[in-house]
Point group: C2
Chain length 374, copies 2
Amino acid sequence: MSFTSLELRSLVTPDGELRLTLEDVPVGDPGPDEVILRVDAAPINPSDLGTLLGPADVTTFTADASSGRPVATAKIPPQAAAFAAPRIGKSLAMGNEGAGEVIAAGENARHLIGKVVGALGGSMFTRYRKVNADDVLAFPEGVTAKQGAAAFVNPLTALGMLSTMRLEGHSALVHTAAASNLGQMLNKLCLADGVELVNIVRSQDQAAILQAIGAKHILNSTDPDFHEQLIAAVSETGATLAFDAIGGGPLAGQILGAMEAALVAKTPPTTPYGSPVHKQVYVYGRLDRSPSVLPSSPGMAWGIGGWLLFYHLKRIGRAEELKLRQRVANEITTTFASPYTREITMTEALDPAVIRAYQRKATGEKFLLLPSQD
Amino acid sequence: MSFTSLELRSLVTPDGELRLTLEDVPVGDPGPDEVILRVDAAPINPSDLGTLLGPADVTTFTADASSGRPVATAKIPPQAAAFAAPRIGKSLAMGNEGAGEVIAAGENARHLIGKVVGALGGSMFTRYRKVNADDVLAFPEGVTAKQGAAAFVNPLTALGMLSTMRLEGHSALVHTAAASNLGQMLNKLCLADGVELVNIVRSQDQAAILQAIGAKHILNSTDPDFHEQLIAAVSETGATLAFDAIGGGPLAGQILGAMEAALVAKTPPTTPYGSPVHKQVYVYGRLDRSPSVLPSSPGMAWGIGGWLLFYHLKRIGRAEELKLRQRVANEITTTFASPYTREITMTEALDPAVIRAYQRKATGEKFLLLPSQD
């Protein structure tokens, strides 16, 4: 029994176009320690869009079904040509994570046949995917592929933030872009674990999303007294660690400054160097690609730096990672449940109107791809 | 035998003036584990000037000797009043470090009598100083107080930078404001230890200072091709750690960007997250108090943060600190020698023209106070 998959591919052509297609790809037989998964559901994460749409101007997408299969083509603007050049002629697969039923397995993995499992590792926007049995996450009985589709990227990121907090000796958190799918998950996790979380959002609508799920500390950075609210919230919670999805602009520096102000007000320093308590902001996203601006005020015990889930998992080691994964499997329908606003087939994923919708990355909107339908 | 010291003091008055005076201060007898030091020499470090001159407008200093002792008085500008307010009415001592002969000692420290020792710990701009015997650094026979005056702040900072480099797994360094007294010392130390050092300066005069002491990599940040030179130098040396005395402006971010560019050119990344090698800039000074501006380009494995000698010494622990101190004592006339451009008495230190001279903090200029003369 050998499988051929239908796979979503993204190609940059030599004449400056980006082309999305559905390709036949041989999957081959499973080796002794491998399984073949029918991918029933895969979330379209912001981290997938870079490969999927990359340098394309999404307003220019057009559809063509003359070959019998859907093809979507967009123009690459001249200013993105250099960025796109290394990809020319390479048909790229994508999809960080997904879930589905195990439909074939090698001799050491037969116990997984018929089970619904999740998998991480790229190329999940495909109908059939061969993976190592060690790498799949088996869900408890009754969990569906749609429920388990997003068991890695956001859940492990939220758990990784808490594990960073504990490793580095902090006791409470600040989170920006806090109404995101990840932010809602982090909020549920912090409530479950009794960790104080200061949620920073940019609109009243986003604040309402967090209010509805019981968030305790919600600040709107567009409020005129945001800076005073921020000092009060970090003082009350004792937060000295922040995770920032925005990256550019003044916010990361404002958070460091507010932490220092709160610490200095509680314990006036005995040296000219400010509070000796370390204050840290980790930048894990770049919603704003403009430069970051840091004030000169956070004392001498401060840091700001990049944070990436894969680096963090390497730091904590495989045994610790497996504990985090098992917690995700156990709580996939509660703490780590992901709501979707729309389910789409692979054919729909190549529809220009649908592409523009999932490309928006609007807060609260999340698309689930169903690779084995249509 | 009980001593009274003559001590340099800085006072902010309720009517908005800063006043420098010489005060009689009782020193008392040494306890069993204490020694009394005649402070023969103490450097005026940039870190002393904050307390010494603080919020004063140095152009307004006037001298008054009508009391029989010199007094220097300056106005505090209105915009500095809030900063100066906590100091009103408090007569502050200062002077981070100094050296001199032990002239009295408690029963457990008599072996130190007659020896030239260095001491750290504040209030060294004084004629006699009582300190714990454990805290002094005894120099080899023949070292003078002038040679040993600056055995802590700059030498331990330079050694602390190298110990940070080794602790955090880097193998070469970048240093800004590199022609400073500290920068010259770091350069000598790196040459002695075989560590590659990229020296960044801001003028041809500063470059010449470093050339004269054998620096290998010297970059002038005002050169039009500075960014290209920087990428080439960090590529050649493999530097992934920088110590920055400037703090504000674009330089720290430029260094991170150049490190990333050099790493990516050597090993093209296999993920969209840039090079996985960690790049770090520590800000240990704030010559530029404007905000720092960081680009969005250094990948995801980067950090920038404050660095303070005292926090670093706490991190490495007392045993490791004592090893660093012993190395300073052994090499105080070679690797850790400090050149001075001018020696001044306490009376001269209160002369308005002299105050303006040591306040300039010009590269290459360094003042040595001789508290036991005049």
